[in-house]
Symmetry: C2
Subunit: 361 residues, 2 copies
């Protein structure tokens, strides 16, 4: 499995001490674990001795309140990864459209479901933006499922609501389901221009995936949810998904969601300021092309001839910095890497090392 | 889903305060969470901010040491439930034999995999013991998978190694896989007479499921593992199972496993003494039949005419005690229920209430 952020393997391989490795490869909110969550876990440790609520009633209630969703339309999973698997295994599409490049788990889940995958290649000359007219053309009766990632990983590009609606309308005509993974949407300040969450009741062919992992800095807790108004899909998922898929502490996350407004504001403020500052500084560096990011991670292309991502990754690791090699994303090659936006001092450190590597190679 | 232990739903429905409900329906070690685990979680809370190791290397290393298994033969899952799903979805059997009564998740996983299920009914007149000669007869070329639960839930009956070997040998001849769920095996003091864990390398058609949930009182943490020497099955599972299926804290469980010898001894001591005492007291009560339990839970039949499990459950709930209604197990009916063996004072309280209910009805 080619994912970012396997810091354990890197630490073992390069013999780097725990907490010494600076992980620019995984896109986690640098503000860290919300304080409410820490308190809840500390005080309710003994709750591990009981099975979690198989229906996750309190968690679903909190999600439904926070995002204004119907509680019966929500299903939860052990990270967005499980939600994606449950949707794909519920639909069992014969033919599915997947973007390239995009998050690799869609393809893995589709393969395990025996689906045929049609790749829609986002073009480098378009800065990897999806071109609505082109995309809509390829939707026809043969397509059972379209998978979109919004904002897209690793390109950090958004699709707006207008485009989404035209895709959904065309898809509806051809009885095609559309799954939109909005795992990074919480990082988008003007969510109302991009998220389909508020309009999920308008499309019977729409299933949305959300995750708390990235925004609330809890990848270790495993928590995601899906939402659809399609009762048939909901039934299929409820009938085949794992029981007790969330651990007890993940089940408590609803309480965090409803109390951490300040955390949300702080995150948006940090990201708005630091994204502008960090990207401007990166753009000053010769030898790389920086794709303008919509959220908290940045796709970068190496345009200097004698450097590729293998060299870059090795050189960064000498400074205990881990970057995300993007060569295993379909549609990208050994010239591409992805980094997360972190705290200002870490970002400055990153820039210093990057400049040095480019100069010396 | 009909499982024991949904205390949250019961608490909501009957308006019983949290911690007031005495849960005899779920089979968890009453010794509670091992102390090591509490300490680890408290001290490493911030580790939730990183993804768990996708390979769970340290956990697998600890499991391999503790149980003397090859690390490459181990796969981990989000509770035994996920391990069971991954095995069944990896094998995708056309026809599978499942015991009746037994744990309901095998049938659910087989249904979701599109399998045809052949039930082998354990007989009341045999005290629900599997009869080796009878069972072996039904294995032929048409059977792709045999699912066994040892000790079996809810009957609390064991199958010994000699029988297991004869089943495995016959199965091997017919190219039939055998999955043995040993989720409760840690509670068996003379494990060497019943567990196939030490012999898993001898059978290429054998996959064993183990869980830490019950013995270590951590159903809220979700942690199970599977073991097989069959490389093809291991590959199929690794290719289709969810990434990061365990949360960070579950990944630390290996450290508990290697240090809590005292916890293991204490548990065996408690169970040996209390099982004998509690069962003897239960057997004195007229109006019920107690099936001799192998481990920490007991199947009981109501033999008084005017009481069934609906009445019994309602009456127990008036005293804030939850029992496991077994009427939704195939092969059982409204006369059967299951209880866990708990601390002596709770067990005595249970007996008092049971006597009162039987007298008054």
């Amino acid at each position: 499995m080619g994912h970012g952020g396997n810091i354990y393997e890197i630490q073992r391989k390069y013999n780097i001490e725990k907490n010494k490795l600076i992980d620019f490869s995984s896109n986690i909110n640098p503000l860290g674990l919300p304080k409410t969550l820490k308190k809840i876990i500390m005080s309710r440790m003994d709750d591990l001795e009981a099975y979690p609520d198989i229906h996750y009633y309190q968690l679903k209630t909190a999600i439904s309140k926070y995002y204004s969703l119907d509680i019966d339309n929500i299903f939860v999973g052990n990270g967005a990864a499980q939600v994606i698997y449950d949707i794909i295994h519920g639909i069992k599409p014969k033919d599915a459209i997947v973007l390239a490049p995009t998050f690799s788990e869609y393809e893995r889940a589709l393969n395990s479901s025996g689906s045929n995958i049609i790749h829609y290649y986002l073009k480098e000359e378009d800065d990897f933006q999806l071109i609505p007219e082109d995309f809509i053309k390829i939707i026809d009766d043969s397509i059972d499922l379209i998978v979109l990632c919004n904002p897209n990983n690793p390109t950090s590009k958004l699709i707006n609501i207008k485009t989404m609606e035209s895709i959904l309308e065309k898809a509806k005509k051809h009885k095609t389901f559309v799954m939109i993974d909005e795992a990074f949407m919480d990082f988008v300040k003007s969510e109302e221009d991009y998220s389909m969450l508020k309009m999920y009741r308008d499309y019977n062919n729409l299933i949305i995936v959300r995750a708390f992992t990235k925004f609330y800095a809890i990848p270790g807790l495993r928590l995601g949810f899906g939402i659809t108004c399609n009762k048939d899909i909901l039934n299929r998922i409820n009938n085949t998904s794992l029981p007790w898929s969330l651990n007890t502490f993940a089940g408590y996350f609803g309480e965090v969601l409803l109390t951490e407004d300040e955390y949300v504001d702080k995150t948006h403020k940090w990201l708005e300021e630091e994204k502008a500052r960090f990207v401007a500084k990166l753009k000053e560096i010769r030898g790389i092309k920086v794709y303008e990011p919509a959220v908290n991670f940045i796709l970068i292309k190496i345009i200097k001839d004698n450097i590729d991502v293998d060299i870059l990754k090795e050189e960064f690791l000498k400074e205990s910095i881990l970057i995300r090699d993007c060569s295993n994303f379909k549609g990208l090659d050994k010239k591409f890497f992805r980094i997360a936006i972190k705290a200002p001092s870490l970002n400055d450190g990153f820039i210093k090392v990057l400049k040095k590597i480019i100069q010396n190679n």
